[in-house]
């Protein structure tokens, strides 16, 4: 269709689909990051996409902050003690995404020999292999929520032709403000982290994508870029903040790449195929700490928000901090709360039990009241085509849902369930409130099941 008002203010965005949900960021946006130290932590050993890590401590062990407690020898990423103390148990516990997982519980006790993670001189000039190794041993994963091991994303194959690093400061999920606060308060560290990543992957250009509802964060980052003048460093990188329109899901890799460079990552392909690597701002910050301070990922900023929590905040908490003490630190919640989410309201997970810990991938804890969430029943598809209009990939959620409803999930491949990244624009917009993402998941599961069956028969 002819687009008469394709862009406002001439700011870039992805070409197709997307939605404008209420932001609710004002609840927590002006609250500076506060540290919070709990009395104990329960650290799940699965902290990344893929295999779990293997515990290397046992009950009764004394650990210091930053000490390795689970190794990546069988996959996963190294996991470190977020606080000093005594290991109380190595047992199964609740995981916000995986439901149940092996977890290491540490009772916090200050130790005299705690590392202070001072800046290590000469870090800027370390060879690429050493930089990568420091990122690996620090257990850095994609902190935007995907938790893909960062060193693996940065270890590009020899034939990869990558020319641009994109740093993702979009934070397009409603409510979440952890990346926004980080960019405001730690702009220089984020920019340095970005430069470091650019150096590792050997690119001369870095674009930092920030939505126009966070213009002050964009200004802070631009000022940091000017102060640091990394275009005149030993690995010169031309860095630029690109302010985009505010449109969900701008922070999705493929959409952000299109918004900033106009390049289209092929269906089910990787950003690398169009010469790009994308990293989240918090990941860039973590990479810098891993290299400069040899500090592993043992804490993260979590936005605690929603109309149901009394004092919304941005807290820096140790990984493994349980949700209950965080609720107490935020003044408790009222009994209107009907949903508690780990992550944002579009792609976050609903928690069944508050007896769960924060992981490296937990960007937010949202306490949603009935008025702000959706518990409505769903109705038949009326064929309005809204889902087709808002899908950023051009998939057909309506068709997938209709086929799945009548038990024909294995006839839906052409409608795109296997490409769907579950951004949720379709479900959000559906006037009949159809759980279209869930239908997509059912279709995906059917294909996975079918593939497994094929393998066992082969």
């Amino acid at each position: 269709m002819l687009r008469l008002f394709a862009s406002h203010h001439g700011e870039p965005t992805f070409a197709r689909g997307g939605i404008h949900p209420d932001e609710h960021k004002e609840l927590s946006a002006d609250h500076a990051i506060e540290p919070f130290v709990p009395r104990s932590v329960t650290v799940p050993v699965s902290q990344s996409l893929g295999a779990p890590s293997v515990p290397v401590v046992k009950k009764g062990d004394r650990v210091v902050r930053g000490q390795l407690i689970a190794s990546d020898e069988a996959g996963g990423v190294p996991v470190h003690a977020p606080v000093s103390g005594i290991v109380k148990s190595v047992d199964r516990g609740i995981h916000p995404v995986l439901v149940l997982d092996m977890a290491i519980t540490i009772e916090a006790r200050e130790q005299e020999d705690e590392p202070t993670f001072q800046e290590q001189p000469g870090w800027e000039t370390l060879p690429r292999e050493e930089l990568l190794e420091r990122i690996r041993v620090a257990g850095v994963v994609g902190l935007g929520g995907a938790t893909f091991p960062t060193y693996r994303k940065l270890m590009l194959p020899d034939d990869a032709e990558v020319d641009t690093l994109i740093i993702n400061g979009s934070e397009c999920e409603p409510y979440l403000t952890c990346d926004y606060r980080l960019m405001l308060e730690q702009a220089e560290a984020v920019v340095l982290g970005a430069w470091l990543i650019a150096k590792i992957i050997g690119v001369p250009r870095c674009l930092i994508g920030i939505e126009d509802n966070k213009a002050d964060a964009g200004a802070a980052m631009t000022a940091a870029i000017e102060r640091l003048a990394l275009d005149r460093s030993d690995h010169p990188v031309a860095m630029e903040v690109v302010v985009t329109q505010t449109k969900y899901p701008q922070g999705s890799e493929k959409q952000l790449i299109q918004a900033l460079t106009g390049r289209l990552v092929p269906q089910r392909g990787l950003p690398m195929q169009v010469g790009i690597v994308v990293q989240n701002v918090a990941t860039a910050f973590a990479c810098l700490e891993a290299v400069r301070n040899r500090k592993p990922v043992i804490e993260r900023v979590v936005t605690v928000s929603g109309r149901g929590i009394h004092e919304p905040k941005n807290l820096r908490v140790p990984v493994g901090t349980m949700i209950q003490p965080i609720i107490e630190a935020c003044g408790g919640f009222d009994d209107e709360v009907v949903k508690v989410l780990a992550g944002g309201p579009m792609m976050g997970r609903a928690l069944a039990d508050l007896n769960a810990p924060v992981t490296k991938g937990t960007s937010g804890l949202l306490f949603l009241t009935r008025a702000e969430t959706n518990l409505d029943r769903y109705q038949p598809c009326i064929g309005c085509g809204e889902c087709l209009d808002v899908c950023p990939l051009g998939l057909e959620p309506n068709k997938v849902s209709q086929y799945v409803e009548v038990g024909r999930a294995l006839e839906t491949e052409e409608f795109g369930p296997l490409e769907c990244f579950e951004c949720g624009c379709c479900s959000y917009s559906c006037p009949s409130n159809r759980p279209l993402v869930q239908f997509m998941q059912v279709a995906k599961a059917a294909y996975r099941h079918e593939a497994a069956k094929q393998r066992t028969h082969a």
Binding site: P266, D353, E414, S427, V437
Partner: protein, 329 residues
């Protein structure tokens, strides 16, 4: 510190929704149909209100009973069945006996909607099936109970002897001339048709009022221009074969059908190209029926015929993917 024990709900994301429900959409469509009804009352008098209420009552009763039989909550309040009643009434002659729209509405909803499974599952436009049933059941009343328009003479309009302008189109220019009655003195034929000061069905005489309502729906992003423009474009392609192209384009239910019936979500394709083919098909069929068929009005059957094509059109014309196909890795 004691903590409330919340009852937590679980689901996959997203956990928020835009908030515009199917019922919201249907009631907004009903609201957008108000200007045309208001106009009809002004030019044809109070009886048109009775016709409208009668049609809505018939539709609502059939829907309500179907829900009772099925053992589900009544869906009368979702606005969809009211919309059907409104649209059916708008296609009827303003002098029709008041009980007939009730029968037409009830039969239309029963045969075109409830037997298919209710909202979302029907193949044909429900209001138009109601009209088609009425054409077969009450052929005389459906074609002879026209009223002479009289702006502001509420309750004082006369029955019209003879055919409507559209019916007379096939009879040549003199017949058309004779059929155009009640036009204000000195007003051109085109303007009278645009404003709606001419004989015709309840809700379709005023192109202006229909476009006003459609404008509201466009502004609310409930409909897009794709289908209406395609319908009008398709009809325009057939206009050279009409004895009076201006009258042909401005009369009958063309505009009501283009903006309010062809755009029915359930019975029209949801992909861009599918919608264009669907709309143009309706326009062409309308023109063919009017110019060469034995039937003065074409839009009703044109839409019903193209409704049958909707599933195929959605199958043939798919939305394009944003990204190119991936290379196997």
């Amino acid at each position: 510190m004691s903590m409330p024990e919340p009852h937590l709900y679980l689901s996959t994301g997203p956990h928020i929704r835009r908030g515009r429900t199917t019922a919201d959409i249907m009631w907004l469509v009903n609201l957008s149909l108000a200007p045309a009804l208001l106009w009809a009352v002004l030019v044809f008098g109070w009886p048109v209100l009775g016709i409208t209420l009668s049609a809505i009552a018939g539709c609502a009763l059939a829907e309500h009973l179907a829900c009772k039989v099925r053992g589900t909550d009544s869906t009368v309040y979702d606005g969809s069945v009211v919309c059907t009643g409104l649209l059916l009434a708008y296609t009827l002659p303003p002098g029709i006996p008041l009980w007939m729209p009730f029968v037409g509405g009830a039969l239309g909803v029963f045969f075109a909607k409830t037997v298919f499974g209710g909202l979302g599952y029907n193949i044909f436009n429900v209001a138009l099936v109601g009209r088609a049933i009425m054409m077969a059941t009450f052929p005389v009343e459906m074609t002879t109970t026209w009223l002479t328009p009289g702006f502001g003479q509420i309750g004082g309009v006369d029955a019209l002897s003879g055919a409507t302008p559209l019916v007379s189109l096939t009879g040549g220019p003199e017949a058309v001339e004779a059929a155009i009655v009640g036009l204000p003195e000195g007003m051109s034929e085109g303007l009278a048709f645009l404003l709606g000061l001419r004989p015709g069905s309840v809700g379709e005489v005023s192109v202006l009022m229909i476009v006003a309502g459609a404008g509201f729906l466009l502004w609310q992003k409930i409909i897009k221009l794709t289908i209406p423009l395609s319908v009008l474009g398709g009809a325009l392609l057939m206009s050279p074969w009409s004895p009076d192209p201006v009258l042909y384009m401005l009369s009958g239910g063309l505009w009501l059908g283009a903006f309010f019936m062809a755009t029915d979500y359930v019975t029209s394709p949801s992909t861009l190209k599918g919608q264009i083919v669907f709309g143009v098909g309706i326009g062409l069929l309308t023109g063919m029926i009017r110019n060469w068929g034995g039937y003065p009005e074409g839009i009703c059957y044109a839409i019903l015929l193209m409704n049958t094509m909707t599933p195929a059109l959605e199958e043939w014309f798919r939305p394009p993917r944003t990204a190119p196909k991936g290379t196997p890795s």
